[in-house]
C-alpha cells in the first residue's frame, strides 16, 4: 500500500535527517591532544577541556588552571581555523622557573605561576596555535596558523604579554603547526609551506631555509650540529644545523612523518604514519643494522615516542602501547598494553615512569622497563 501523502511527508523528513547526519558526519572538529610536562616532582598535564592540571607523583590532584574568560567554541565544532575560539590544547606545556607556558588553539599563550596557580600574563596572537612553545633566554617562541613565528617576553609584570623587543615576527607561506626548537641562538621550526626554517633568536632574521617535497608539521630534532626532520613527502632529512645543507635523506617510508624523532646511541628513531618505527643510522641515513626490519605497530603512530633506559615506548593511535628494545627492535615488554583509548599526544617519561595523556581525557602511567600499569586518573572532575 502506498499512501503517497504520508510517504512524501516522511520522505521530506528523512531527507532533512539524512542531510543533517551527512553534514555532521563530516564534522570532525578540533579536539586537541594536550601534552605533559614536569618540574621537580610535579606533573603539569593539559586536559581535553583546555585546562592544565597539576598532579603529584601518585596522581593526586594539586590544582587545576583554567584559561581566563573563555567562552567556549562554536556550537558545532566544525568551523574553520580562524573562527574556532575554544581553548583547546595541542602543544606540550613548558615549565621554566616556576612558570608553566601554555599555547592554546584559541590563539593565546598563557604564562601561569605554578606556586600561586595564577595567570602571570597572556598574549593573543589572533591565530590558532596547533604546536607547543619553546622557552629560551627569557623568550617564548610560538608558531601560529597565520604562518608567523612570534617571540614574546617571558618575564613581564603586566597582565598583557608583549612581543620581544627587536624581534620581528617571522612570516612563512603557510600554517606553522610544528613546535619550535631553540638551539645555540637559533630557532628551528617547520611550516606547512614545506620548508624548515632557521632564524636568529634575537632578531627573527632568516639564517637559512630548507625546502622539502612535502609539508612539515613535526618538531625538529637537533643533535650536535645536525637537524633531523621528517615531512609529508614520506622522507626523513638530516641537515647541517649551521647551513641547512642536506646531509642525507631517508626515503623508505610509505607515509608522512608527523611526530618528533628521538636520538639514542647514534641511532634515530622515527615513527611514520605508515604504522612503522624506523631505526636509522644518524651518520649515514641507512637503516640501523641491529634491527632486522622496521617495527610494524599495526596502526598509525601519531604521538612522539620516548626512551626509558633501553626501552623505546611507542603508542599507536588505536591505543596500543609497545615497549621495544632499542638495540633489536623486538618487544621488551611481556605484553602489549591496550589502553582502549586513542593516543595522539606525545608520550612523556620521567624517573623510569611513562605517562600517556590519552584522548579519553585520562592520564595513564606505566613502568618503562616492564610496561606494568601503575595508575591512571581522570583529568576532568
Amino acid at each position: 500500500m502506498f499512501y503517497i501523502k504520508q510517504a512524501r511527508t516522511k520522505k521530506a523528513l528523512i531527507i532533512v535527517v539524512i542531510l543533517s547526519c551527512l553534514v555532521l558526519s563530516g564534522c570532525m572538529g578540533p579536539r586537541g591532544w594536550p601534552g605533559i610536562a614536569s618540574e621537580g616532582e610535579k606533573l603539569y598535564v593539559g586536559t581535553m577541556g583546555g585546562t592544565v592540571v597539576a598532579l603529584n607523583p601518585e596522581g593526586g590532584r594539586l590544582w587545576e588552571w583554567e584559561p581566563p574568560g573563555e567562552q567556549g567554541g562554536s556550537m558545532i565544532a566544525c568551523s574553520g581555523g580562524g573562527q574556532f575560539r575554544a581553548g583547546l590544547l595541542y602543544g606540550v606545556p613548558v615549565v621554566a622557573d616556576g612558570v608553566v607556558y601554555v599555547s592554546s588553539y584559541n590563539g593565546r599563550v598563557y604564562a601561569v605561576d605554578t606556586e600561586y596557580r595564577a595567570d602571570k600574563w597572556k598574549y593573543d596572537t589572533g591565530s590558532p596555535i596547533a604546536g607547543g612553545v619553546a622557552v629560551a633566554n627569557n623568550t617564548v617562541f610560538v608558531g601560529c596558523s597565520d604562518g608567523k613565528l612570534y617571540a614574546l617576553e617571558a618575564n613581564v609584570t603586566t597582565y598583557e604579554g608583549r612581543p620581544k623587543a627587536g624581534f620581528k615576527p617571522f612570516q612563512t607561506d603557510d600554517k606553522i603547526w610544528s613546535t619550535p626548537v631553540v638551539y645555540d641562538g637559533t630557532v628551528y621550526f617547520g611550516s606547512l609551506d614545506q620548508k624548515l626554517y632557521a632564524i636568529d633568536a634575537d632578531t627573527g632574521e632568516l639564517k637559512w631555509e630548507f625546502k622539502a617535497q612535502g609539508a612539515i608539521a613535526s618538531t625538529p630534532l637537533i643533535v650536535g650540529d645536525v637537524v633531523y626532520i621528517g615531512a609529508f613527502d614520506s622522507r626523513f632529512y638530516a641537515l647541517d644545523a649551521d647551513t641547512g645543507e642536506q646531509k642525507w635523506v631517508f626515503e623508505q617510508a610509505d607515509n608522512w612523518f608527523w611526530s618528533q624523532a628521538l636520538y639514542a646511541n647514534g641511532t634515530i628513531y622515527a615513527c611514520s604514519l605508515d604504522h612503522r618505527v624506523y631505526a636509522i643510522e644518524a651518520d649515514t641515513g641507512e637503516l640501523y643494522s641491529g634491527w632486522a626490519e622496521p617495527f610494524d605497530a599495526g596502526s598509525e603512530i601519531k604521538s612522539s615516542p620516548v626512551i626509558v633506559g633501553d626501552v623505546l615506548v611507542v603508542a599507536t593511535e588505536e591505543g596500543e602501547v609497545f615497549g621495544l628494545d632499542v638495540e633489536t627492535g623486538k618487544s621488551k615488554w611481556p605484553n602489549v598494553v591496550d589502553l582502549d583509548a586513542h593516543v595522539l599526544a606525545p608520550i612523556f617519561a620521567s624517573g623510569g615512569t611513562v605517562y600517556i595523556n590519552a584522548q579519553d581525557n585520562r592520564l595513564y602511567t606505566f613502568e618503562g622497563a616492564t610496561g606494568r600499569q601503575n595508575w591512571s586518573v581522570p583529568l576532568s572532575q
Partner: protein, 341 residues
Amino acid sequence: MPKTRNIVLLILLVLVFLFVGGFVSPIELFDIVILQPMLNFLILLTKVFFGSFGLAIIILTIIVRGVTIPLSLRQIRSTRAMQELQPKLKELQKKYAKDKEKLGPEIQKLYKEHGVNPFGCALPMLVQFPIWIGLYQSVIQGLGYAPENLIGLSKQLYSWSVIQEQVPLDSHFLGLDLGSGSLIMAILVAVSMWILQKMSSSPSADPSQQSMQRMLLWIMPLMFGFFALTFPSGLSLYWLLTNLISILVQYRVTGWGSLRIPSLATLRGGPPGPVRTPASTTGASESGGSDAGVVASQPEAAGADTTGGGKKPVVREASSRRKKVGHGKHRGKRKIRRRSR
C-alpha cells in the same frame, strides 16, 4: 538494461561476500571504492588547475553531478509521475475504502497502466547517495582545516608524490578563505537552497502537506545557511554549486515549479511596480505552482495559462487599488475552479 542490472547485481554480491566474510568493513570499503579515488582526484585537479582548491572543488562537483544527472532526472521524473497519479490514487482509496484487500492490487494495476514504478524516485537517490557523501567528504577532508582533519588525510592519500606534495591545499579562492565560514557564502547557499526547495515543492490541497512543505521551504535554507556560516566555506562552495546544478536539473524537468517569477507573467499586461511583491509570489505557488513551472519552460506555447496562473496573486493584491485589473482576477478564479474539479 538487463546487462547493467546483472553488473549491479554482481557488484552487490561481491560486496555482500566481502562484508559477510569479514574481509573489509563497510567504512573501509567506502573509503577504498569511493572516497579515496574522489579525494585523490580532487587533489590532482588542484595540481592541474594551478594549485587552486576552489577551482578543483567546482570542477569535481560539476563532473560528479554531471555523471549522476541521468539518475537525478529519473528521480525527478518518477516523483513527478507519482504526483500526477495522486488524484487517481485518491479516487481508488475512496472507492475501496472498505475493501483494503482489493485496494492494493488496484493501485498496482494503476501503476502498471501508467508505467510508474513507486520505487523509481527512491532507487536513483539511493544509488547517488554514496557518491554525494564521497564528494562531500572529499571536500571536507581535503581542506584539512584542523590538525585532526589534516592528520586524517594521510590515511586517504595515495603515495604518489604528485599528490603528497600538494598537501596542505591552498585554501584561498576568490578572496575567500575556504577553511573558514563566510557570511556571503551562507547567504548564497541559503538563497539557492530556498529556490531549489520552492521549485521542487508541489502544490497540495492537503493543509498538513502544505504546512510541511512551507516548513521545509524555510527550515532547509536556514539550516544550511547556518551550516555554511559555521563550516569551512570550501564546503559551502560545494553546497552552492550542488544547489545550482540541482536547480538546473529541476528546471529541465519541471520548469520553475512553484517558483513563480511574477515579472514574467505580469509584464504581459499586469500592473507594474509595487504589486509584484514576494508575498504575492508565494500565494501563487501555493495555489498552482506546477502548471506555472511547465509554462515557464515553454512560454510561447502556453502563454495564456501563464498569465492566468501567474497573475492571480498579483491581481489579488492589486485589485484593492485598481479596478481595471479585475479581469485577470476572474481568469485566475476560473483556473482554480477548473483545477478543483
